[in-house]
C-alpha cells in the first residue's frame, strides 16, 4: 500500500499542495479530481520521489518510510509514474523503451513475462517494436509510456491524465486496459480530466481544491455529490 501523509509541495514561496493525505492499495483504482492548477500533478510527482518531501510529511510504501530516498528507490519500492508529459525516450525504439522499463532490479527477473503481458495488453506495440517512439502517434506514445511503467513490475501505478489527446475510441480501450491492470493486483492512482469516465472505473476518489483535499469518498457517492457534479461532471 502507498501512503502519503500530510504532503505539502512548495514552488519557491508558492504553496501548491497543502497537507494532502492519500492512500492507494493494490488492486484498486483511485481517482483524483481537481481543477487546473489544483495540485494533482504535484502530488503524483512527489509520490514518485521527484520532489523534496518536508519533514512533517511522509511517503510510505508497505509501511516503509521512503520520503527522503532518491527517485530510483521509489521505483525499486514499487511505485511507477507516467507523468503528464509521458517522459518516454523519444529517440529510442519501442522495444528499448520497454526494456528500460525493466531496468529496476525488482523487474529484471520477470522481464520476459512482463514484456509478454504488455504486448498482449497493447498489441500495437508488438507490431511497432522496432520503431522509434518519436515517430508514433500521441495515443501510441501513451501506450509506450504505460507499457514502460508496467515493465517495472509496479505495485502502484501513478497515471497523470493518461487519456489526454486520445480519441474516444482509444480512450475506451485505455480504460479497459486499466481494468485489466487492476485485476493483476496493481493499485492505480489516476488523475483524469474526464471525470465521468474516471469515476466510472474507480473504486474511490479524492477531490483536490487549491492544493487541499476537500473530499474523499467512494465513487458512487462522489458521482452523485452535488458539488462534484457541478464542478467536474458538467452536470446540472
Amino acid at each position: 500500500m502507498l501512503e502519503i501523509r500530510d504532503l505539502s509541495v512548495f514552488y519557491g514561496q508558492h504553496r501548491a499542495v497543502e497537507e494532502v493525505s492519500v492512500t492507494v492499495s493494490r488492486g484498486e483504482i483511485v481517482v483524483m479530481l481537481g481543477a487546473n492548477g489544483a495540485g494533482k500533478s504535484s502530488v503524483l510527482r512527489a509520490a514518485a520521489g521527484l520532489l523534496p518531501v518536508m519533514n512533517n510529511a511522509a511517503i510510505l510504501m508497505d509501511g516503509r518510510d521512503i520520503s527522503h530516498c532518491p527517485a530510483d528507490e521509489f521505483v525499486e519500492a514499487g511505485i511507477a509514474l507516467v507523468p503528464e508529459d509521458r517522459a518516454i525516450f523519444a529517440d529510442l525504439t519501442v522495444l528499448e523503451n520497454l526494456k528500460l522499463g525493466a531496468y529496476p532490479k525488482r523487474a529484471r527477473q520477470k522481464e520476459r513475462e512482463n514484456l509478454e503481458n504488455v504486448m498482449s495488453l497493447f498489441p500495437k506495440l508488438e507490431e511497432r517494436r522496432r520503431q522509434k517512439v518519436r515517430s508514433m502517434s500521441g495515443g501510441e506514445q501513451q501506450m509506450v509510456a504505460i507499457g514502460r511503467a508496467m515493465m517495472s513490475a509496479p505495485a502502484i501505478l501513478l497515471l497523470d491524465e493518461p487519456s489526454l489527446g486520445l480519441s474516444p475510441l482509444l480512450c475506451g480501450e485505455l480504460f479497459r486496459s486499466l481494468a485489466v491492470i487492476r485485476s493483476a493486483e496493481i493499485g492505480i492512482l489516476l488523475v483524469e480530466q474526464n471525470a465521468k469516465r474516471g469515476l466510472a472505473i474507480a473504486d474511490r476518489g479524492y477531490v483536490l481544491e487549491n492544493g487541499r483535499v476537500t473530499g474523499s469518498e467512494s465513487s458512487e457517492i462522489l458521482s452523485s455529490d452535488e458539488r462534484v457534479r457541478k464542478a467536474y461532471l458538467g452536470g446540472d
Binding site: 525499486e76 529510442l92 526494456k99 528500460l100 531496468y103 518519436r134 517495472s152
Partner: protein
Amino acid sequence: MDILIGGILLGGTYVLMALGLQLQYGVARIMNLANGEILVAGAFGAFWFYSGFQANPFLALIVIVPLAFILNWGIYRYLLSPLVRRAKSRGQLEVDSILATFGLSFIFVGLMLAVFGGEYFSYGYLERAVIVLEQPYGLNRIAAFCASAALCIALVLWLNHTRSGLALRAVAVNPTAASLVAIKVARTSALAFAIGGAVTASGGALLSMFLTFDASIGVIFTLKALIIVILGGVGEIRGTIVAAFMLGLAETAVASLIDPGLTLAAAYLLFIVILLVRPQGLFGSRS
C-alpha cells in the same frame, strides 16, 4: 586513391577522440574543452612507456585506459558534479562547464609542460612501409587504425547490446525519464564522463604512434573532436563515426592536393558550412 586510404586511416583514429567527447557531451552533458589535453596525456603515456620500458603502445593502453578512467571520474565527481547540481537549466550547465573545463585545459598544459618540457615528441614503433594498392603506408598508421576500429566496435556493441549501455543512452535521451526507470542518473553521467575520457586517452595513445606532438597541441584536437561531434550530430554515434572519416578525408585531401598548412583551415571551413546549412548535424534529428 592514396588520398582515400590515407583519409580513412586518419579518420579511423579520429573516431575514438570524437566518441570520447560524444559520451561526455551527449550523456554527461559536459562540453569538455579539456578533451584534447586528455588525448595528449594519453599520447605522453604511450611515449613514456615506449621510451622508458620499450613497451609497445598497445600494452601501454592496459595502463592508460584505467588511469584515464579514474582521472576523469575524479574530475567529474569533484569538479563538475557541483556544477551539474547547481545548474538550473541545460544552457547554464553548458556555459559553466565550458568555463570550468577551459580552465582545466590550461592546468593540464601547465602540468605536462612541467613534466615533459616544451619540445616535440615522437617515437618510432612499427616504422615500416606497407604497400597497399601500389602505394606505401606506414605500418604504424595501419596498426593504429586497426586498434582504433576494434575499440570503437567494442564500444558501439556495448552501447547497443547491453543493459548498462542502454542505460547510458537513456540518460542521453531523457534524464528525467531515466530516473523514472530507477537509473541512477548522476552515477551514470559520471560513468559516461569517465569512459569518454578513457576512450579519448586511448585515441591519443594510438595517434602518438604516427603523429608528432607537444604539451600544448591539445587544443587542436579538442577543436577537431568538436567539429566531428557537431558534424555528426550530438548524441549520434553513427553520425560521429561518419563525420570522423569525413574530417580525415578532407584533411588528407587538402594536405596532398593544396597545402599541408591548410588542413586546419579546411576543417573549419567544413565546420562553418555545416553550422550554416545543417546546425543539428548530418544525422541529428533534434531541432
